[in-house]
Each structure stands twice: as C-alpha cells, then as structure tokens.
Amino acid sequence: MLHRFAKFVAGCTVLLVLAGSLVTSTDSGLSVPDWPTTYGWNMFTFPPSKWVGGILYEHGHRLIASTVGFLTIVLAVWLWMSESRRWMKWLGAGALGAVIAQGVLGGLTVMFFLPAPISTAHAGLAEIFFCMTVAIALFTSPRWIDGYRGHIVSDRNLRIFATTTTAIVYCQILVGATMRHTGAGLAIPDFPLMFGHLWPTHWDAKIAVHFTHRAGALLVAISVLATATTVFRRTTAGELRRPAALLIALVIVQITLGAFTVLSRRDVWINSLHVVCGALVLTTSLVLTLRTWRVKFSGPVRAARAA
C-alpha cells in the first residue's frame, strides 16, 4: 500500500512538472503578482471564474504544487511511522523538506519578478524532489525489498556507467533550465544547423548557453547509449534491461522534442513536453542507477555476479 501511494505521489509530481513548464512556456509566471495569496484571496478560495489567461497556468501550478505538498506530508509521516529502515524515514523527511523549499523558491521568484538564478534553482530543485519521490517508490517496492528474487546484479562497471549518465543528465537539465530562464531558447534559431553552419558564426552569453545545451544533448545521447549497451552486454536481468531500453526510447523522444521546440518557435506544448520528458529521462536513469547499486544496500538476499 505504501509503495502504491509512493508511486501515486511520483505520478502527481510528473503532473506538477508539466504544470510548471506550462507556466514558463506561456510566460505566465507573473500573472498572479502576489504570493502566497492570489490577488488577495486565499489560494484555495480564489474563484474558478477568475482562472483566465495566464492565471489558469500559474494558479493551477500553485494548486497542484499544494496538493503534491500535502501528499508528501502524508508520505513522510507514513514512512516515519511504518518504515524499519532508518534512512528511509529520513528520505521521506528530506522529500518533505525539498517540497517546502521548492514552494518557498516558487514564491520568491514571483516576488522578485522571476530572477533567473531563483527560477533556475526552482527548476533544479524540482528535479531533485521528483527524483526523491521516484526513489521512495522504488525503495518501497516489493521487488527491491526482496532483492529481485535473490539475484542482485553486482557489476562495478555498470554502476559507474549508470551513475555517470544520471549525473550528466542532471547537469544537462540544469543547463536547459538556465537556457529557459534566461530567454535563450531561440538564441540559435535553426536546427540542426546553427545560423546555417555546423558551428555558431557568432557568440554571446545566450548563444553559449544554448550551444552548451545542444552539446549536452549529444553527450547525454552518447552516455545513455554506452550505458544501455553495457547493460545489454553484461546482464540479462530484466530490472536493468527494462529501464535501459526505456532510457534509449526517452532520449530519442527528448531530442526530437528539443528539435521541434526550436523549429516550432517554442510551441507551448512541445516546449513543455520537452521539460517533462527531460525529467523522465533523469528519473529513468536514476532507477537504473539505483538498481545497479542495490547490492550495496542491506538485504536478506545474497549478491550474485551477473557478468
């Protein structure tokens, strides 16, 4: 039951990420100028008839965030009361701390007119929180607890590949968030070329950030491909092969969405789905990584070298 609830919280967080990305994509971040109130109303009593224009996105984001915050409180308390693993209690508490900090960052960015550093930190912490909810869902799953039926893969190379890939994906997301919140999304307006060439013909700060994101996409693709290839070569374990295959599929979708974000001149939905897919790439990579590290966690089952 706890595992199902944790999965539900993680699913709601995907919706929250989508809602947040829609706020930025529609440039609605300041359509509600006050915080934590909404045009002077208590957030929860703001009349639905006034959810118009950009308010629909910004106020909707706040309500979904509040819901996720409430669910996280329940999850943290549940973990604290029922978990025998001490570190899981603290992971729940950490997730609660993260979602509170995330709410405060969201409020600050509104009150200070969306300064890029705060907005970028808001985006970066959102990914960390999402990772925490996914990790909690994974750690509470029966298969994780029983050690994948006694056959835990223990492969140092896999751990290194998967961990490195997850770190690279997170860095790439931070670069993407920086690009998004500094208005550099179309600093290089064409794709796959850059100003009609293979290399930018001129540079400024925005072009540099945009270029870094494109170069980062290449690095992520190579890293994911290397990790997935290593997984398929070194183990037959489904718990590693499945996320590896999903990771490749998501990266293909993500690069396609990124290309169409530029080609469509930042279409609202394509742009927003690009953000959501990026978060899914990160958490899929995280699941793969954590499973490669399962052997290092205490458990009732023995470790079996797969390769």
Binding site: T26, K50, G53, F113, P117, Y170, T178, T182
Partner: protein, 267 residues
C-alpha cells in the same frame, strides 16, 4: 558519508547553475539616460516665457504599412464579450502616410532649467482588455493612476531598467493604483501577464517637452528656451530617429521624421 557527499554535489550543481543564470537578461530594454532623477528638474532658472519658442513637425511613414497582428482574446471570455469587433495590435497606426503612437521628445540640449510641476496625474486605463493610451509620457515624480475599468482582473507589470520594476494585481473593476517613477527612462514597457496581448509604453522624462503623435502624425513641443536641441522620435518597432534643431527667441522651427517598416516587420 558517501550518500551525503553525493547530495552535497547535486545541490552544489544546482547552485552553480543558478549563479550562471545570474548573467541572463530576459529583456533587451533601452538603457536609461544619464542624469535622471527628480532632482534634475530643480535648482536652475525658469524658462522665460517671453523668449520661448516651439518645435513642431510631422512623423510620416514611407511605404506600405505592415499589417498589425490580430489579437485572440479567447483566453478570457470577458475580454471577448467586451470587444464586439476583431482586435489587432496598435503597432503600426498609419493613416494617409502619417504615423501615430510615436513618442517625440527633447533628448539633449536643455540646460539646468526648473519647470513647473505637472498639472495633475496621468492615467492609464485597462478597458476592453487593452491599455489606453498605448504610448504616453509622464514626468519624473508625477502621479500615474492605473485604473481597471474592465469587469475582469488584470495585473499591470512594468519592466523598467532604470526605475523599480513593479507588478500589481487589480482583480476588481474600478480599482485604482497610484505609482510614481523616480528616474527618467525612455521607454518603460508595460504588460499584462494575464492577457499576453496587452502592452503599453511610457516615456519618463524630467522635463515637459514630449508628445505622442496622433492620427495626423503631428507633434508640437512648446515653450522651449532658445537653444540647440536633439529631438528624438521613438517607435516601438521602428526604433528611434533623431534631429538637431536650433531655435532662437520666440522662433518656431520644424523637425520631421520618416519611419520605414523594418525588413522583418510582421506586426
């Protein structure tokens, strides 16, 4: 211990990205002019009305005026109801070759004169989910009354570079908010984040010599002391043009400007 180090690393990366983002600018706004501030209007002699002259002129448009972008107000049913006819942006207001919504002002040449305080407040009204007026001027320290005449809510969001940014919600019809600018700045963009099509521009000056052209493209800067002036004409898409004009005592001189559509103008 190792897990803690990973968390520290992740949070450090987030912080680093935030610091990198510090260099970003969301808007390329015109830099405020030097020497702004309410103090610039005081201290010097008053303009002698007996010797004051005028600068008049017309702002024209050369070529075929670009089509103004149509506005879709579907995001707010109230806005749809308030506008019986299709709405467009007010970017290129051209009639008989004359260009409206051009802010013309004395950019340079005024000494350290002091001027009478403004007669009263300037008002910007949110009506029909549009700003009225679309382009206007105000003095440093002069009261700006922001009114919401619409039966829907608006936020008025000013994006100055030299003045303090503000974003005020007006959820109730008839609400009025007052604001003053502390430094001269040409121009300060206004936007409504609720209704993305709403935009206005305000020129903030420390002297009274400015005007916005009407449908006939005409402007008149009256009561200028004798001297040589740089007159600038600003248009939201057409950019700026300047002219040097020298007037003697009680003289009236003309200065005309002609704008063309930028090569990539679409609205």
């Amino acid at each position: 211990m190792r897990v803690r180090n990973i968390w520290i690393g992740v949070l450090g990366l987030t912080l680093a990205a935030s610091i990198v983002a510090c260099g970003g600018k969301k808007d390329e706004l015109e830099a405020p002019e030097a020497g702004g501030g309410a103090a610039a209007t005081g201290g010097g002699p008053k303009v002698d009305a007996a010797t004051a002259g005028n600068i008049e002129g017309v702002v024209s448009f050369d070529g075929v005026a670009p089509k103004n972008e149509p506005i879709k107000m579907n995001a707010d049913p109230v806005c749809v109801k308030e506008n019986a006819t299709p709405q467009t942006q007010e970017t290129w207001m051209v009639a008989d070759g004359k260009l409206a919504n051009v802010f013309v002002y004395v950019k340079e040449g005024l000494g350290n004169y002091s001027y009478d305080p403004p007669a009263g407040p300037v008002t910007i009204d949110q009506k029909g989910c549009r700003y009225h007026p679309h382009v206007f001027g105000i003095r440093v320290g002069q009261e700006l009354d922001i009114v919401n005449s619409d039966p829907t809510l608006h936020n008025i969001h000013a994006l100055p570079k030299g003045n303090a940014e503000f974003n005020t919600g007006q959820p109730i019809q008839g609400m009025k908010t007052m604001h003053t600018f502390t430094a001269k700045e040409v121009m300060v963009p206004f936007k409504c984040d609720v209704h993305g099509w709403m935009n206005a521009f305000i020129g903030v000056l420390d002297h009274p010599y400015f005007q916005v052209t009407g449908a006939d493209g005409k402007f008149s800067l009256k009561g200028l002391p004798p001297g040589t002036y740089t007159i600038e004409a600003w248009h939201e898409k057409g950019g700026t043009q300047t002219a040097q004009v020298t007037i003697g005592a009680k003289e009236t001189k003309t200065a005309s400007f002609t704008f063309k559509a930028p090569a990539t103008a679409t609205d």
